[in-house]
Symmetry: C2
Subunit: 339 residues, 2 copies
């Protein structure tokens, strides 16, 4: 078995509490240099490492944070996760990753589970079918930072993007190219991000006199199939849209797949702008005109916010940070074809 504090203490001929204090290097602690040395030697010889579980139980601090995301297989989330893990490790925190798959039920399970595990804080991208879990966490007074999605009626720490402007800029770009009929392929419609992007979309549609129609607002999910099916429906219209605004990584791949399958060309037949964060985005069939997120910035701001709250015992006023997306005009958008 692994050596314990007691083993070290025995070997050094002192009491375990003394070993503990020496190892935790408390300030103005009076210990003879000789015993201190004996203790370090014993630690070395036994190759002692403290037991985090015991420490966590006693200190009521686990040095663990929970990260709840819809799907860590999605590059958007995985790259944020990477940053959080990295920064966390530097500060002595370990991160537990959870995938909700956009399922509220799973989110509930994960939250109670993480609470049981005594995490010191949580960073989450909520499913948003309900704000119950977020309230629960806040009620237990454990630090929480939301990413990308927030609730209108509950004040939390968060790192979000400038969704309205991003979508507006994208549609403006299409309008500038002469497009009149631009579709909005949204992910799950009750999600904050989607509401905001839709807000930007509709604002641009009105401002630039584009065609406004419910039939141009399609989709209600983030998967490949959602993108694929929505696009198929759009393309089967008598007069299909000439521009598409895609709101997620998988949706984008699905949409492109449907377009190519139909034998259409991008951007000659149809222009496409996507919210896409894959490193492959610049090298797609046509380099993708895309809105991308500052993923490192999102991850690191979220972590810093969380750490500040953990260290301040969650007494800080809540803070919402907005980061700006980047818009890269590449080759999937072009002038609308004159018929």
């Amino acid at each position: 078995m692994a050596p314990t504090l007691k083993d070290v203490a025995n070997r050094a001929g002192v009491h375990p509490s003394t070993v503990s204090r020496v190892l935790r290097k408390q300030e103005n602690l009076k210990i003879l240099e000789s015993t201190r040395k004996r203790i370090f030697e014993a630690v070395e010889e036994l190759n002692y490492h403290p037991d985090f579980t015991a420490r966590a139980l006693r200190m009521k601090k686990s040095f663990t944070i929970g990260l709840i995301v819809p799907d860590i297989g999605n590059p958007f989330f995985s790259r944020i996760a990477r940053t959080i893990e990295q920064l966390g490790f530097e500060k002595g925190y370990t991160v537990i990753v959870c995938n909700t798959d956009e399922d509220q039920e799973k989110e509930n399970l994960y939250v109670t589970h993480l609470l049981s595990r005594g995490v010191d804080g949580m960073i989450m991208v909520p499913t948003q079918d309900s704000d119950e879990q977020v309230r629960k966490i806040m009620h237990k007074n454990i630090p929480l930072v939301l990413i990308d999605r927030i609730f209108d009626d509950v004040e939390t720490n968060a790192v979000i993007s400038n969704n309205v402007e991003s979508a507006f800029t994208a549609v403006k770009h299409l309008a500038d190219l002469g497009h009149k009929k631009v579709a909005f392929l949204r992910g799950r419609h009750n999600i904050y991000t989607m509401k905001k992007r839709f807000e930007g979309y509709i604002k641009a549609v009105k401002e630039f006199g584009l065609i406004e129609s419910d039939s141009l607002i399609v989709g209600d999910g983030f998967s490949f199939e959602d993108g694929y099916n929505s696009t198929k429906i759009l393309l089967e219209c008598p007069t299909p849209p000439t521009g598409l605004l895609l709101t997620g990584n998988l949706i984008t791949v699905g949409a492109i797949s449907a377009i190519l399958e139909k034998g259409l060309s991008i951007p000659d037949d149809i222009s496409v702008i996507a919210f896409a964060d894959s490193i492959f985005a610049p090298y797609l069939i046509q380099p993708l005109t895309a809105i991308s997120h500052p993923l490192f910035e999102i991850g690191s701001k979220a972590f810093d916010l969380l750490l500040d709250n953990i260290e301040a015992d969650n007494e800080l006023p809540s803070n919402q940070i907005v980061v700006n997306t980047q818009f890269d005009i590449r080759k999937t958008t072009g002038k609308v074809k004159v018929i």
Copy 2:
């Protein structure tokens, strides 16, 4: 504060140990239906949830597994991680994710840290500068499963791919198309995966009479820059290769970037085959001819293997599972140009 077993016991008028036994639903345990009911009521009313930390300390079992990968931002690893997390949760295990960034020093830190945290098992993609950590884990008798990379001289559980055949098939495909000069862009050269892929490459080179030259073996890292720089070097040769075998996601993006920057066309000027697992791969500038991994299968086999070992107290003989890659001929490979 959160209610404890003692609180529940008091409310139900029984001893904590009784509550514990009832909740853990031990078999052939004699408890009056009436007290059982009182206990459940108390649990309900207090909204009691067990403390995992305390349980872990007492039981010496944390229901936690460690997952060490080079970079969870890389789709190959993130999708495997997703599967492992999902299956883990179904079985009551939580996963701690760690990114080594291919840095042996970080790997060392993570391993000792996870050991301190008392994980019940570990799944890792080792950095392979040293087998020290793997030996250490095995010596402590904690279950371990390697993914993708194994050591020649230490027997472990593992899930690996048929690297030799995969690379051989790829090069054969190029040879069939008339290519004589095929370069091998490898990741870190001392990695198992790379050695095996190289083995397949060189076997095909010899078997099909391709040009054999050290100058065609380039690169020693997995990053975008590695792929980019290696490709630049290759393209600046007097007679550059007409075929490229790319051995990683980021390498691939880097290579494509360099090729396009040079104004060359794929596959007219140069053919490309990649080990690539991005969902975007089929939709690249030219749909990418690629070797992809069965990521779900890898993740789930690794998890199952680990779980079996955890449940059998690590007494099982070690087991190495080989999975098969998939080879999709798309549009980045073509007949060699006749000059």
